[in-house]
Amino acid sequence: MTDQPKDHNRSYRTGIRPLYFLLLGAGVAGLFLLNLALGSVDIPLPDILRILWGGEVQEPAWQKILINIRLPRAVTAILAGSALSVAGLLMQTLFRNPLAGPSVLGITAGASLGVAVVMLAGGTITTIFAIRELTALGSWLIILAASIGSAAVLLLILLISVRVRDNVTLLIIGLMVGNMTIALVSIWQYFSRPEQIQDYLIWTFGSLGGVPLGQLWMLGAITLAGGGMAMILSKSLNGLLLGENYARSMGLSVSRARLWIIVSTSLLAGGITAFCGPIGFVGIAVPHLTRSLLGTNEHRVLVPGTLLMGAMLLLGCDVIAQMPGSTATLPISAVTSMVGSPVVIWVIIQRKNLQASF
């Protein structure tokens, strides 16, 4: 035998499973249209397509409803679903723990603290509506506060992770840090005026409908930046799958990869939490669902898959949240947990254990 490969023709490549991506894409498109069609006013599907295409319909009100209310909501669902799911994937790979996720490790709690600081610290003028009136600038303020809050918690956990090698210990520490953060917020709430608390409470229920059309681009920019970073990080994430020592022995700078993973996770989780409030479960569940569907941990396939799956899942949850046939709307974070948790339990039981689905 020589140094040269003998058999050039045989290929063991597992491929990128185009069929699954087609299905996921179709799922996102279908649920997107369903989302647009649902609501108290019935708009026929052909008219929806015509409006989206920029055409005219006989009811001008339809156009207003669709463009100003339903479209931002559906686009927010897509962006938030993708962003939170990828943030969860990054956490799971970084900590090599199937239970990691933005909400579990207290990153969402950190974002909540950031938002609470902005909303509750100022006087009467800094209510969320006052901030909304500042439009773009005010939104950036909340996003910045949320991102800094989540980054602070993540950095703290990362500092601890240098000392604590055991993943389960680290996870428990993350949960505790999250609890402390939430406690801090509740002390703050206790000393705040009721009208301030109300704004904050409504924010914590989570909502996909709160992002006006004019600010959607910010959400898009955050998701694009964070998602793009995750794609670029695919190679490092693959290396990290085998553990830090192997990653380094394969020439990857672990500290740099860690830093960028933290930056993109805080941007994604912090940014989405700022706009939509804390939406639980999506970040932890979607990566597992995607791994089970695609059957791979190769991040060059997993990251785009997770983006699509996250968009699809949150669109689906939003359809349920709007309770077709009624005028009421459920808080989105309640729906994601109610719908999602059984799904995850099912996946884990199917694959015997969580490690196997990791």
Binding site: T14, L242, N245, S249, M250, G251, Q355, A356, S357
Partner: protein, 343 residues
Amino acid sequence: MHNPDSIISTRDLEIGFPARGRRRPSTTTVARHIDVSLHRGAVVCLLGPNGSGKSTLIRTLAGLHAPLSGAIHLSGEEIGRLSIREISRELSTVLTDRLTIGNLSVYELVAFGRLPYTGWFGSLDRKDEEKVAWAIESTGIESFVDRDVLHLSDGERQKVMIARALAQDTSAILLDEPTAHLDLPNRVAIIRLLRRLAHDTRKAVLLSTHELDLALKAADSLWLIDRQGRVVTGTPEDLVLDGTFEAVFAQDSFDFDRATGSFRLHEPSKGPICLHGAAEGVFWTRRALERSGYRVSESDGTALRVKVQPTAEGFRWDISCEEEHYTCDSVRDLINKLGKLES
């Protein structure tokens, strides 16, 4: 002067852990004055008692752990001057870190070995794919390339990790306890694979192990770390004959038998027996006698003598005790009879 055959060489290397806060108030030295070199095409076994620093040495040489002092040269270049990517093209490792992931095919895992060569996105080009295919073929894991790494046996997983290191296309492979947790056939298979790779590809192979017998048979040279943190190197046979090997592993009730190249488990407590006869029969009879506590010797002049005779069905054991003679037809019989004679 740099020897082109030398991949790794160290000069007065000191390894261990630097002081760190209250938990470790002073520096802990694991081993010092290490002067070793690893050559192309050679299999080197790193041996030492538990906790003597085998893993620390391997990780330090691999650039995963900073040395306390001294120099490590990688192909003539000071290792500190090389980037982590440059090191990863010269050295690959198989570590004891457990894989905790699933949902990854064997092929995908082996392909990770190409990370030091691929671009920012990690896509494999034709050359990368050829290297991966070659690594898979050389380690004989073709039959399960599509299997999930979660569903591999320990032996298969170790071969896959070696294939990953091969795909990394380095001049040296450093393996930390590659035969731990493996049964004997798998241990032998891994060692044979490493020997063949070292010979065929002219790679340098360094492995740490607890398998003293296997190391003595398989290694071109040994690096021994003793309890005092000294590292002695040499050909296995030289180290055995000059007593170094024995000294490193010397411990109470544990001694090395130079005549057989193995360790004595049992302390003799009973009188000497002279054993002679057919070679194969003597070898196994000796084990049984030693287990029962007899001191076995080849020289005459003992009261008890056992002769192993080949027969048509197998073996026969003739005992002569002073003027009396007995014949036994199995080792069990022999041991029983000797027991009776004694009492």
